[in-house]
Symmetry: C2
Subunit: 734 residues, 2 copies
């Protein structure tokens, strides 16, 4: 259950299926327009060394390979079957595969759960057969798989070369698009591709675990429409990202996109913002645009991680230095402040009109001497204030633009950059406006493992991903398990009683739970009669006797207290309290005559401060998730909320508070003091621990929590109790 303590099994069962010693092609065909033909061609052309068993009742030979009339008739025991036949034939074929000892099947057909109705029924039937016969399924509704290091190329893609980028994509066109980009780029190669399709059996978490283990994969790259078991995926992602980069493009950033995804793979969308937060929490590099996927994957695979956000820009054009500065700032990266020693070294090699303030603008110094750019990169890379180096401009094109005779010097510059990249632990990110025409110096860089990017924008996304990854890995040693809290028997009993009564916790119970675990909740009393009211009045009177109080109805039947007239604020003095209590009771009974009223809660009004919200939700895909944001319009209109999967590390809690756009308000505006963020972080961590300690705590809503420079106060608290769906208690209540 606990993702941090969990361990991956030693080896994913997918290795056998994805690197099979034999493959049955069910629905193999000699018709070039059929997928059963394509797959045969792919295997034969790429030189697959295992056994191939074409299955087709109407053919004896297909592409020179002996064909078999049925799966049952195959003589050997291939590990994998590719099923190219239409949806209705699939359940029967899966059963046959199982009987033949086939371990896994790739099912291309669509027409299953993604179309609903009969399709969903067919998918259930197929899964039953698969479980009964021990066959693992890839798909259905998938474009297929390849594993280029084992010469398994069931898609028969031309022009893809073996390499170290693994891809799991719910879009076949996305794979094709990446393959064509790679072909054009000339350097990127691929290890394994899988289209998970509807994920009826094997899901993203299984595939990611496989890529994590796969020695040929250096970067795992995923196009995801929806996760089946998001919580499991996060667990696997946390393990894999500790070893290698994981790049995810998640579709459905808008309602419009979620609808489209659902009709494509039947994926459950969920909140995009939440998904992105949870993936990042697990160390995943999330890309926002589809045209960033390959550049970011290549950069993460090849370049050093950045230790921080401070970038040194070396540029031979002031305009592009300006553009780079804008993009870096927008991405939350900083222009490194170069040390005086560094600036002096730059002055020593550059013309006097050069700018040695970052962004460095060589201002013509390199026109006759482009290898000087490498010298500048070396100088700034040696500066302790610099975390990464960004070359911007026309390197690679000097010999084209100025004089052919500069080619030698440019090639020397390229070699110096390659040497530097091997000598430094800082990433060198290179943008050249000559990238589209691939001149020799850029080809040399690329071949030596230094990618060259085609736009400033792409480069900055790579710098940003390198920085995020470096930061993530640096803080994992701070990810030590936060001490858990021990559940207290009397509080566990409180949950049990609420459950027995078919209700959630009363506000005062929720507050007791919090208070007993060290959360700052202002003192309060539930007043059931006049005597208790008098006690409360004297308790809260304060020295001057005029402490303003808040009074609220306590009733399991009244959810919207304000609407029922169940709330009175700024009540001062016993007489006014008495009056307020009567008014609340009258108003609530008028609102709901059958409401059972427990009493009236009395508490001092909260001090001034910023209203924040802390919540726990149970997401159907990701399980228990903590949310944090500022109250009011920030949540409702601006959706300015941070999410983290529970349990949280201290780093998670801290980063959550810093993530929201409205953090400036927490830092103090209009002369207000900054709020006590450390106290807020403790609150978030405590809530996270409570969710673990009390499994009956299903959801929680602290709204508002008032936070100021002196700490915070939980003003209102709701706790939803986990109930069995078939609860007899609930039935008894009804």
């Amino acid at each position: 259950m606990n993702p941090i303590e969990g361990h991956l099994p030693t080896r994913s069962p997918l290795h056998d299926i994805l690197a099979p010693t034999g493959i049955a092609v069910v629905g193999a065909s000699a018709d070039p327009t059929k997928r059963g033909y394509k797959a045969m061609v792919g295997l034969i052309k790429d030189g697959y060394r295992g056994e191939i068993y074409p299955v087709n009742p109407k053919a004896d030979m297909i592409l020179g390979v002996k064909a078999w009339p049925s799966v049952t008739a195959i003589p050997g025991s291939p590990e994998l079957a590719l099923i190219c036949t239409p949806a209705p034939s699939v359940p029967g074929l899966i059963a046959e595969c199982g009987r033949r000892g086939i371990k896994g099947a790739v099912i291309l057909a669509s027409g299953f759960a993604e179309i609903g109705g009969d399709g969903a029924e067919l998918e259930r039937e197929m899964m039953e057969k698969a479980r009964a016969h021990g066959v693992r399924l890839i798909g259905p509704n998938t474009s297929g798989i390849f594993n280029l290091h084992h010469k398994v190329n069931l898609l028969a893609l031309d022009n893809v070369k073996p390499g170290d980028v693994g891809i799991i994509s719910q879009s076949g066109n996305m794979l094709l698009s990446l393959a064509l980009e790679a072909q054009h780029n000339g350097q990127v190669g691929f290890s394994t591709y899988v289209g998970p399709g509807n994920q009826s059996d094997i899901g993203f978490n299984d595939y990611l675990r496989y890529l994590g283990e796969d020695e040929h994969t250096r970067v795992a790259t995923l196009y995801v429409e929806g996760f089946r078991d998001g919580r499991k995926f996060l667990e696997v992602a946390r393990e894999v990202t500790a070893m290698k980069p994981v790049v995810v493009y998640k579709s459905g950033s808008t309602e419009q996109g979620q609808k489209a995804a659902s009709s494509h793979t039947g994926a459950l969308a969920g909140s995009y913002a939440m998904t992105v937060d949870l993936l990042r929490q697990a160390g995943v590099s999330v890309v926002q645009y589809s045209d960033e996927i390959l550049p970011v994957a290549e950069g993460l695979g090849l370049l050093q991680k950045a230790r921080g956000k401070r970038v040194a820009v070396i540029s031979d054009g002031g305009g592009q230095a300006t553009i780079a500065s804008d993009r870096l700032a927008e991405a939350g990266l900083e222009l490194a402040e170069l040390s005086e020693a560094t600036r002096q070294k730059l002055r020593d090699v550059l013309f006097p009109q050069a700018s040695t303030v970052n962004p460095v603008d060589v201002a013509g110094s390199t026109d006759a001497n482009p290898s000087l750019l490498a010298t500048c990169m070396e100088i700034v890379a040696a500066d302790d204030n610099v975390d990464s180096v960004f070359l911007v401009g026309m390197f690679g094109g000097y010999s084209i633009r100025f004089a052919e005779s500069l080619l030698g010097d440019e090639m020397r510059g390229a070699e110096a950059m390659v040497d530097l990249s091997n000598a430094t632990e800082k990433p060198l990110v290179i943008y050249s406006l000559y990238t589209p025409i691939k001149p020799p110096a850029l080809r040399r860089l690329h071949e030596a493992g230094l990618p060259v990017y085609a736009s400033i924008e792409q480069s900055v996304r790579v710098l940003s991903a390198l920085g995020e990854r470096g930061q993530y890995l640096a803080q994992t040693n701070r990810q030590a398990r936060e001490s858990a809290v021990e559940p207290r028997p009397e509080l566990t009993a409180m949950f049990q009683q609420a459950r027995a009564e078919g209700r959630d916790l009363f506000e005062y119970e929720a507050k007791r739970l919090l208070r007993d675990h060290g959360v700052q909740v202002p003192e309060e009393r539930v007043v059931r009669d006049e005597a208790e009211l008098a006690d409360a009045a004297s308790l809260f009177a304060g020295e001057s006797g005029d402490t303003p109080l808040a009074m609220k109805v306590v009733s399991k039947d009244i959810l919207h207290k304000s609407d029922a007239g169940g709330v009175k604020l700024n009540v001062v003095g016993e007489a006014a309290m008495r009056e307020a209590r009567q008014a609340i009771l009258a108003s609530c009974l008028a609102y709901d005559a059958s409401a059972e009223i427990e009493g009236v809660l009395v508490t001092p009004m909260a001090k001034k401060g910023v209203e924040v919200i802390v919540g726990v939700i149970r997401d159907p895909i990701f399980g228990p998730v903590l949310m944090f944001g500022l109250g009011g319009i920030f949540v409702e209109i601006l959706e300015d909320v941070a999410f983290r999967s529970i349990p949280l590390s201290r780093f998670d809690a801290e980063s959550m508070v810093e993530q929201i756009k409205a953090r400036k308000i927490l830092d103090g505006v209009r002369g207000e003091k900054a709020v006590d963020k450390a106290a807020l972080v403790d609150l978030l961590l405590t809530v996270s621990r409570l969710v673990e300690a009390y499994p009956a705590l299903s959801e929680l809503d602290l709204n508002p929590v008032i936070v100021n420079a002196d700490g915070y106060a939980v003003v209102d608290a709701r706790v939803i109790v986990e109930r069995d769906a078939e609860s007899t208690d609930k039935d008894a209540d009804a």
Copy 2:
């Protein structure tokens, strides 16, 4: 002065300079590393047909052309001089050029105002000579110019072809980058390029006017670090965008970028958000990223404008349809709702498993028949609910991916798309994942003037620009001049008196100005003594006598009324008013014993509603600008503000209210009614008219204005009075 009524002169003087009949190359050289060599090569190689006069005291011939020892020695009268010599030589050379009758000079050298100090002095000296001798200057600190239709290629760029994209760029590298992109793209060509450099003489507005008039330019494309005369630029842009698209990339979106720009071209940055709003108001297509410039320029030049935001997506892959849906929604575009008739026509040609709900997913229907994609495009283009058509997927690559035999059908599909683009008034935007490898069908489309984009993201930016431009042009007929207001003599006198007293308007004067011109300002009285207080008490008592009042000090010496204890709210009844007045007077005198206190302003408390801010500022670059936003954190923390250049059209005012992110709050949240937006729009228009009617109105701040379903109330108003810098009145006061 008035940009709407202004008229462009019949012909820009730049035509002569940019299409000269003769060119002097001052500093011409036989050394291939020098710019004075490059320019000669460019002119000779491109076949420039005018006279070339190399100027170099040390050479008789340069590249086979007779050289002259000085500008004075040139026998003819070239229209243009290219000056390649260092900065200190420039002022003297400009004088010589003038004496020789040369109309314009391009000055490459840097080392002028952008480095400050001596450089700024040198620039002043150069400008003096230029004015004295009637020479117009391009630069300094420029990469030069070209005019390919006249074979003037002073940059000696290879591989650029004449075409219809004009470029004005303060970055030479940006021009190079666009040229290389165009070379790779294969279809885009250029007309004129100018690097404005420091704009000491000729500025962006002049260059844009030239491109507007230039018959060879279909799209004007600008990279801008800073405008010199922003208001003039907007005026010219408004005229040019009515004729042809103008694409602007403005650098300095961040403080970091603004600093870099300032050290590059000495540009004054100004607010990026304001600049973007004002450019859009003038019909400019603003692009946010440098790698969008060429795709957007090409699309705007070649494709039809969209009449609206409703896009029909035709896709052969569900994943990419999903990505397209997300990007469209993010860009504020909509998926068109296809009519039942359209869906039936799609069903008639597609497989049953195809999705005919937009995004249309052909789901394999086109695998053996790719020209069907053109049929689908034709079907949706005929639907009245569709404003533009977006093809997404692998068109062009069917013959590569599936079977070579499909090439013929693909070429037929391409022809059908070309025919459709000629027959329909709706834009067809095509993305293919095969764009990087340029297969024949895509080449055919491109040659026929249908650009093919390399990513979904780029395509959506083009769709968005087409939609914005269509909308802009559609509303220009609504841009009729709003009726002006006549200044009233007594209000003009009020301004004069304030100016004479060396002060801004008092709040009650500002409100009188507004009220007298129909703005809803709650009634109020300035109370100077007990008798006036009694009058005010009876005036505002209301029927029940308990109308809560606001009271505020009136004094030119007290700017921050609250800090001085000069404000009391919710005052009820004459006795309380008396007490409040005494308290205000005492407190203000304690705050500033020498303050001259006019009286105390009394007004009923405003009704509940949303707080908005309306302001007028005088921007040093753009002149009078109106701003609108929600009050409090929206302005201060989120910078959620809209700007428009004054005067505003009704469309401008309407679009301003709809532009802010917090508009949901105006539309009503938590069950509140929507506010009266029409009243708000009238307020904005009235303020705009007041600025024109009263030139002494320098700045204005209505903060807050409370707006609700019944209208608005201006609660506080400040008006800053335009004063002469050397005002003797002010001196007399001091």
